[in-house]
């Protein structure tokens, strides 16, 4: 089983050390115009922001609480982006990371069609619209660090232990144990089943639908949906072709009733 990360939303204090670590390790520019005083800034991921903290105020009156959710690529077990890409530019690695080959492995096949962006249920891949020859960009799970048996940069930076890196199975077991031993947690591990499971998993003390998670998510992986349709292609190709050929010869008129060359003529525009 590959590796993953368990995010404990109840432990996150919204310090954004992970965001800074990500920018630093990956040499990503900071757009100063985005650093306003808004709690939620930057308001979305973009081609230079692969992780961010979204800020949520939940509850009423005295029960009001702040909750912070780290967002990044979920690194699906069966990624929609990988199945959507027609040049194999995404890959789910053994280590658990979903990487984009043109920038990660220097295998530049990407044509920039952006179908991965349509496909991703978490709206993660972003595009360098400002570049002449743009790449798709997203969190790469610090794949270079994983290869060196290092933890991803954001995890080393987290001061509260909200992020835990490890074997996916063990993390799931730990998450279940944490939920069972503390009634404060919501009884759900987001990422255990969503879209066939993801390497990044979340537990929370606040219902997930209040934190901007898509909670009606299907448990089937997205590639299995497309494959249910695509697998018929060869049969349709052969069957429909055979049927058409049969019909063409079966209905073929005995004698040629028309001469196409005699039938049509160029149009005289002066008419």
């Amino acid at each position: 089983m590959s590796n993953g990360v368990l995010v404990d939303i109840s432990k996150c204090i919204g310090c954004r050390s992970c965001v800074t670590a990500c920018k630093t390790w990956n040499d990503l520019p900071v757009k100063t115009s985005q650093n306003t005083n808004q709690w939620d800034a930057p308001v979305d991921l973009d081609s230079d922001t692969w992780t961010r903290i979204s800020c949520h105020i939940v509850g009423e009156g005295n029960q009001r609480k702040w909750r912070f959710v780290k967002r990044q690529c979920m690194h699906c077990n069966e990624p929609a982006c990988e199945s959507a890409c027609f040049t194999h530019s995404f890959e789910k690695t053994e280590e658990g990371a979903v990487i984009y080959k043109p920038t990660e492995l220097d295998k530049d096949y990407c044509v920039g069609c952006r179908y991965c962006m349509i496909a991703c249920p978490f709206n993660i891949p972003k595009f360098q619209y400002e570049k002449t020859f743009p790449y798709v960009q997203k969190c790469r799970f610090c794949y270079d660090r994983l290869l060196e048996n290092e933890r991803p940069a954001c995890i080393t930076a987290c001061p509260t232990g909200a992020l835990k890196y490890g074997n996916q199975e063990e993390l799931l077991a730990e998450a279940r144990q944490r939920i069972n031993s503390n009634p404060g947690y919501v009884n759900q591990i987001y990422g255990e089943k969503e879209y066939g499971g993801t390497s990044w998993m979340y537990i929370s003390d606040v219902p997930f639908e209040q934190l901007g998670f898509r909670t009606n998510a299907t448990q089937k992986s997205i590639p299995s949906y497309t494959w249910d349709v695509l697998k018929w292609t060869p049969y349709i190709f052969v069957g429909w072709g055979a049927l058409l050929t049969a019909m063409r010869f079966f209905t073929k008129p005995k004698e040629e009733g028309h001469n196409e060359a005699e039938m049509y003529a160029p149009v005289d525009p002066k008419e």
Partner: protein, 388 residues
């Protein structure tokens, strides 16, 4: 080598079209040098905009006239439809060329466009779309070669093409059937993103079926336009007898749609008053049910205005449906809004202007439209054109 002179009459309308094309070419060059962000309003929430939504998805659907007429005329041998066969093939070919151009404009790393031929992402629906469109456009060019070599004499090539014609015709129906449906399958990945009134495992069926019944309607509209432009008689009897195909196919489309909505338990969403439900109701009532009734009533169907109006509704309805899938149905899950920039619009207008110019040039120089009985025949020399 060339049998006849070439002609292209210049009118003010054509000059206007040429200006649009030139403007679009300039904008396209700018886009290739400075990137998508400099020209388009596309963003991370709306990666696909006007060029994919309209020029590609609608362009390919509107070009459906090619494969449905090929099936009716060359496979089922319904000879009474022969008068419209070549015009349908031509508009289909031009439609595919437009779609390929818009695809090329839209891909960010356009110098890599050939990669999918070598790195087979066969688990991607887009892979099927790409291969089928590329192959089918080639096939249509070859099919057109048959017409081309009637004018440009090259007997040896024409003979070879003649031998190839049956397999080409069969492939020329199988491939578009596959990719018309896979254009719909593209949206199967958007499981939780596309509004449930449009998302369905049957979306490939809906796309290929509507592209097919759109064919006869499109031929009717084009045929009437061409007849008007050249002062000819519209092929009214052909248009009328095609309405039966369209009408029954639309009835089946409607029934399957209703069954599908019920089966998935989202039928009630059509009446929940949301923007999506209203757009869906318009799509179903104005663009599906209304043309069915117009085709069903003889006093409407047998008149030119009636058959043309109903066909126009079918054509606009398919465009409306594709727009609903690409934009209306995705808007809620995306959140932000998209409207094409002036440059995106200019390039789109330029591409369709080019299509119109190419159509005019080809019908005036090749044997596309049927001879009119009362007019003069073969000998014809134009002085206005260029001499090739």
């Amino acid at each position: 080598m060339y049998g006849r002179n070439w002609s292209f009459r210049i009118t003010w309308f054509r000059i206007l079209l040429i200006l649009f094309v030139l403007g679009a070419v300039a904008a396209a060059l700018y886009r290739f040098i400075y990137g998508l962000g400099a020209v388009t309003n596309l963003n991370n929430d709306w990666p696909w905009g006007l060029w994919i939504g309209f020029d590609l998805l609608c362009g390919i659907a509107l070009a459906g006239g090619g494969f449905s007429t090929a099936l009716i005329v060359h496979v089922l041998h319904k000879d009474k439809y022969l008068p419209i066969a070549r015009a349908a093939l031509l508009t289909s070919l031009l439609g595919y060329i437009i779609s390929l151009v818009s695809l090329f404009l839209d891909i960010g790393r356009w110098f890599n466009f050939w990669r999918p031929f070598f790195y087979w992402g066969f688990h991607s629906v887009l892979f099927e779309v790409f291969w089928c469109i590329a192959l089918y456009t080639t096939i249509q060019v070859l099919e057109f070669g048959d017409i081309f070599f009637e004018k440009v004499k090259f007997p040896a090539l024409k003979k070879i093409l003649g031998y190839m014609m049956t397999p080409l015709l069969i492939l020329g129906i199988v491939l578009p059937s596959l990719h018309q449906s896979s254009l719909g399958s593209l949206y199967i990945v958007a499981v939780d993103k596309l509004y449930p009134l449009w998302w369905s495992m049957l979306i490939p069926f809906f796309f290929v079926w509507s592209a097919f019944f759109l064919g006869p309607a499109m031929v009717t509209v084009e045929g009437t336009l061409a007849a008007k432009a050249y002062g000819r008689n519209p092929e009214l009897p052909v248009f009328q007898s095609m309405t039966k195909v369209t009408m029954w196919m639309m009835i089946i489309y409607f029934i399957v749609k209703m069954i599908d909505l019920n089966y998935r338990g989202v039928f009630g969403m059509a009446f929940n008053g949301s923007h999506e439900s209203n757009m869906f109701l318009i799509e179903m009532i104005v663009f599906i049910l209304l043309p069915i009734f117009m085709y069903a009533i003889p006093s409407i169907r047998t008149r030119l205005w009636g058959v043309v109006t109903a066909s126009l509704l079918v054509v606009v309805g398919v465009v409306f449906n594709r727009m609903n899938v690409v934009f209306t149905g995705m808007a809620k899950s995306v959140g932000s809004s998209y409207f094409p920039s002036i440059w995106e619009l200019l390039i789109t207008i330029g591409m369709w202007s080019f299509l119109a110019l190419a159509y005019l040039f080809i019908v005036e120089n090749f044997s596309i439209l049927p001879k009119e009985e009362h007019t003069h025949t073969t000998t014809r020399i134009y002085d206005t054109g260029f001499h090739a």
